[in-house]
Symmetry: D2
Subunit: 147 residues, 4 copies
Amino acid sequence: MVDQVKEPPTFQWDVRVYWEDTDAGGIVFYANYLKFFERSRTEWLRSLGIQQQSLKDSSGCMFVVTDATLRYHRPARLDDQLVVTASMIDIGRASMTLKQQALLKSERAEHPPATLLCEGLIRIGWVHGASLKPRRIPVSILDSLKN
Amino acid sequence: MVDQVKEPPTFQWDVRVYWEDTDAGGIVFYANYLKFFERSRTEWLRSLGIQQQSLKDSSGCMFVVTDATLRYHRPARLDDQLVVTASMIDIGRASMTLKQQALLKSERAEHPPATLLCEGLIRIGWVHGASLKPRRIPVSILDSLKN
Amino acid sequence: MVDQVKEPPTFQWDVRVYWEDTDAGGIVFYANYLKFFERSRTEWLRSLGIQQQSLKDSSGCMFVVTDATLRYHRPARLDDQLVVTASMIDIGRASMTLKQQALLKSERAEHPPATLLCEGLIRIGWVHGASLKPRRIPVSILDSLKN
Amino acid sequence: MVDQVKEPPTFQWDVRVYWEDTDAGGIVFYANYLKFFERSRTEWLRSLGIQQQSLKDSSGCMFVVTDATLRYHRPARLDDQLVVTASMIDIGRASMTLKQQALLKSERAEHPPATLLCEGLIRIGWVHGASLKPRRIPVSILDSLKN
């Protein structure tokens, strides 16, 4: 049963599917899972006290995606309610990697509670905002991330 | 003080600004307010018991935007928390018009509670999904909309 | 025959409809006409020697949309070839207004050559990039625009 | 010199960067490279006589992305002119894999002609449009793809 979630993810964020997310195939346009994953990552960071706009204003630096690997399992459709997870699986001095999943919430009481739609590995680097050159992640942020 | 909200809107929906919503001007890309307005309209419809995907499956019909008038007052930025309103101001047998506003939530306790960013008039028609020809809105939906 | 073009537009830009532009209604998502209109405006400016990124780098200022009025006539679908026009109808010291149309190119030799899909009035202001406060359009740009 | 193109790609398609493609980091939003790649794939298919909307209308089937692996090398900015390549590196009875690159066109006469911005491996399956179940790619399409 590869489509079921085995263990509780580190962070979860609800995402509703609107017209803007769909394409003429009647399903969510595949590129948009990168948006859903980012909303969840952003809220995960916010839950750790990390606000990206404030950080950019104060440090001149920002997180950017350097690698993404995506596998699409099943489609989502208009009005579907998704849960999007974010789980840090690796962190270094200048980058980190997250495992993320988009799951379809079941609206019935029966099992399974969620069906896997898309999963991805997202590697994120910390860079200077103007030059986009890699920088070491500030210790205060590292501490928050490793909490 | 034209930038302040005078009366409580019919329906409110929170929208957070993510990277996906912004452009190189450092602000929310103006076309995306149409997406924010639609999220609020969709949730307003859902609050009335109207689910668009189910409706399309059962009736073969759907709502489409036929006219939009937008005025941009102030920009929103990454991480801003918005409130997006939806207020029906006119309804006929085949279409309705909503007034919508995107407001910036103030995070401070002082007044004003919200600053107007963008407002729009959105006219929506009820059409057949395949031909996109106008149809009369079903009475059951009209009743829900006029509740 | 309101759906036919009466006079040759000032500027034309071809736009092809891809999956990214469509929604689950099987048609182009209405907000995306704002993108199509902007591509045409950008290329119109480029044809006048006005490059927006260079301008922003050199002057610190940029054009922003302040008002948009859109009317949707007929839908476009995947693979459709559109022509998007841009025609300046008014210009002041700090803003200008363009009339724009998205037309479906007919692939048959018969008339009409194009069917009107969407038309809009787009008002654009010249603002400082950081404060977003209105500024007077530089004379050199005004001259190019009025050529 | 990993950032330079070693061999002529199978197919090339020009893509211009507009405001809609950028984010508040001042660069192209990373998810949008999936759109650029798809425009190039779509035009590659069209160059082989394969029109996706017609195919869906006639066969009830369509191509969907099942896997995507993306590596981001350097950022693109507003007004940049890109070349986006598509090169089929594997094909089976129900899917194919393409290697794609987004390159920045140099506007100067000197070498290199292009700088690598983003590269991806995109696996595409052929599925039934309603059920989204995998199907064997029709022989006539296979023949065109293998030409």
